[in-house]
Subunit: 172 residues, 2 copies
DNA sequence: AACGATATGACAAGGTGTTGATGAATTATC
DNA sequence: GATAATTCATCAACACCTTGTCATATCGTT
């Protein structure tokens, strides 16, 4: 904390950035915790969680509705680990909400995850609650502010995704 | 949800809001996952996780450094459940980084959680890595954008925190 | 046919997060 | 002093999330 006098301005600048970054990541941590807590509550009567909601939401998109999504695509879309996604998918499969189908044509290694008819029904039911949740959660935000926040989070996500990942332990 | 006919435009508006909200919460979900993943990696060589980082960061603030923080204050600050915080604190206590001290004066029920000298040393070491992490993660953001994102997340957090919590099962 | 890369599945270990229920100590109130 | 509320701890169950490793099947290339 003993800065030379000549760099006073840039140090103050770095301190300001650190302080804002610290608050920013704390808010992200808090908001994320609250999102899972309140979101899970919003869809609780369907026996779902925010993660299952996210998976079903991904599979219900126009493009994925019929074709389904591969596990790899889901991993990239949701940005979770394969092992974790396996657990969520297993639970959804046990509930009969999604199915893994092996594509008859094309790459035989790929298995496409799809909503079952039961899954589509549950998703349709959930959508009403989700719309209400979104409306309540973003009540204080204008559409422009929502777009602004979305874009900033989008950039932050990309930035975090681009950080140097595993740090090679060996020199190789 | 019962709009008079004259507000037909608001339906398109509602659809736009839903679409933006959907993207917004997905980005929040992704960014949060990445924050924990990359953040834990950033402080991995200290054997810490993002949650322990958050707790130690809270305890290292000027106000809390000497007085410590009660469990209730930490819960409000980090917005996690009591049972979860107990686990994190237990691990930090096992590592000798924090201690629970019973206040000699005042409310005898309160126990103040404080950083131990070892905890302060570890935190000081971690700070360098944290500064680097913040700088890398927010490299593409100007200071003004950081403040903007921080303020938006702050409002979102408050909004989510104000949602009707447990939904009383009984009429009471 | 043999090879390496890719896609998936299964198992393990550790940490985080929720809810629910129980119990103990202390404080404030009657 | 008895009672109720607050603060904290603990046990349990379940879901999520990461890393790591091993195994299997398939694809593309040699």
């Amino acid at each position: 904390m003993n800065y030379p006098a000549s760099t006073r301005l840039s140090t103050a600048d770095a301190d300001a950035r650190f302080d804002v970054a610290n608050r920013l990541f704390l808010r992200l941590y808090q908001a994320s915790n609250l999102m899972h807590k309140t979101g899970t509550r919003a869809v609780a009567r369907h026996g779902a969680t925010t993660q299952q909601w996210a998976v079903m939401g991904a599979l219900s998109r126009p493009g994925a509705r019929e074709r389904g999504m591969t596990v790899k695509e889901l991993i990239g879309f949701l940005m979770v680990s394969r092992q974790n996604l396996a657990g969520v998918l297993a639970r959804l499969e046990d509930l009969g909400l999604v199915e893994r189908v092996r594509g008859t044509e094309g790459d035989g290694r790929l298995r496409h995850v799809r909503l079952t008819p039961a899954g589509e029904r549950v998703w349709t039911d959930m959508l009403a609650d989700i719309r209400r949740y979104y409306a309540d959660a973003l009540d204080a935000f204008s559409l422009e502010e929502c777009v602004l926040l979305f874009r900033l989070l989008d950039r932050l996500r990309d930035s975090l995704d681009g950080l140097p990942p595993p740090e090679p332990t060996a020199s190789d």
